[in-house]
Subunit: 346 residues, 2 copies
Amino acid sequence: MSTGRLHIDLGAIADNWRALDAMTQAETGAVVKADGYGMGAAPVSLALAQAGCRRFFVAVAEEGAAVRQAIGPGPMICVFGGHMAGDAALIRDHQLTPMINSVDQMLRHVEALPGHPFGIQLDTGMNRLGMEPAEWAALRDIALAQNPVLIMSHLACGEDPAHSMNMQQLHAFTQMTDGLNVPRSLSATGGIFLGTNYHFDLVRPGIGLYGGLPFIDAKPVVGIDLPVIQVRELDAGETVGYANYFTAPHPMRVATVSGGYADGLIRIIGTGGLGQVHAGDIACPTVGKVSMDLITVDVTHLAEIPDTLSILGRNQSIDTLAGAAQTISHEILTSLGARYTRSYHE
Amino acid sequence: MSTGRLHIDLGAIADNWRALDAMTQAETGAVVKADGYGMGAAPVSLALAQAGCRRFFVAVAEEGAAVRQAIGPGPMICVFGGHMAGDAALIRDHQLTPMINSVDQMLRHVEALPGHPFGIQLDTGMNRLGMEPAEWAALRDIALAQNPVLIMSHLACGEDPAHSMNMQQLHAFTQMTDGLNVPRSLSATGGIFLGTNYHFDLVRPGIGLYGGLPFIDAKPVVGIDLPVIQVRELDAGETVGYANYFTAPHPMRVATVSGGYADGLIRIIGTGGLGQVHAGDIACPTVGKVSMDLITVDVTHLAEIPDTLSILGRNQSIDTLAGAAQTISHEILTSLGARYTRSYHE
């Protein structure tokens, strides 16, 4: 067993969903796109369905089909990407609910699957997905006559409560949807913390379920332990790893662990100056560049070298590791590769 | 079909292997670790075995088992990580050849699997994997009595022909191995271009097989086309994507494509200023941050918007995309996720 070990706490995901659900009067869905943020769409969706979640969100129809296979009939599975060319059979066979993003998608949907449930995605200023105000004004009466099951939009700056964009988008959303008598959704995790005005009928957390900010009280979900392959003594002046990136300033002991950027331990962790792993509660800085399959670590100060060193766990959160990789926790999670030995806990 | 489409040219991989093989008098192996650099260890190994490759290299025993299942009995499958605790059954059942990295691994191997083939990995200065000179001096006679099938080391700076480290490592390697009458290997792709002295009995290219530098004449292996979800017109001053990262300086047309950092299109591509995709031969810069599942692109200058935009292909190599992501082509390849619709070409 020389691969890294990835521990995923499904109970923590369900607890995070319940905690977020308790924060609003709205229904609480769950975003399980990108293979459940890398945690496994099937086990994550099943755990959330058992916790009471009845509305799931994925990016593309293929992901929706996988979630439907996991959870069975009943809960709604919404597709952010809408109804793309060639998607009709997937949408029909797996009872998916596309969030229609444009007039083109609306026409495609009603032609291919008349009467099949759909939602509407509106653009309120992020300019990424959804109908523009003018487009919506033109299509609105026709779309409403087809009985959309949800009208939604997405916040560009929801994780920054001070950003004036939030209020702008809220205003645009209410202008476009007030009085329509269709369930509405604007907020992902960040929006839940912006106040009741942002909750509408449904909130749809993603990163908060998986233990990431801005849900500061989230239970951690993921742990990674990397097996130590070998340990060596270095003289002062010896170099470590590719391009001789690190030079030992004094005699050192260096451990090589099994795990690298092919496991989603992003390469910049080794060069950004903030990379570390833990032996129990003791931090050990990475030295040298992260390789495809290996990371080298300064263990000079350890009295004993354990069999594994932890890169995610109680001493290093996904947000801390994201900081070391100059990114956000979302990319840490979705980058974790297929090589780990995965274990799921309830 | 709203997922990105990943095209993998197995014929190009085989051609690259043949071209590298023709450059040396040594045997040519192939590095297929990290799921064949993300291209699929099974199809890649099978294509290379059919081209004549008889020696494969993986990082961990689990990967070796997958390669053995793909190619069947016969070719040697070497494990860089050596013989780790718990690996004996995998090594035995799948006839893997661990590259022994330490005295501990040597003892573990001969105790668990006496007589089972193994190789020796030596550290010649990279300080990452392999036995140190002193360790090797102490163990050498015992190890040689067990008939190792290969003695290898790895260059830290092989992609930089001008680096003095190459000569230092070459010198250390010959000092540790001259006169031993065991096949030797020092060079991966970079080392092949350092000259005959570096070739020994076996070279073992990795990145060159997959179309990456420093093999400048490599055939490109991978292409990615991203479906266009929708296109919108922007007024000057409108913002795009998370954190309002991009502001339109003039009226623009922006396309949203299906693909994001969950597909290994590294997030920094959107903020580094060099991100682009292509419509045919016309470059289109990315605008705004890369999202988990989506990228926004300036298509103002296109007369017609195609159904897909290409982010890897004849107009953008893995090395060019790596530059836009501030990394190396290896990380581009190994980051490509599971969500693509993959197609293999011979």
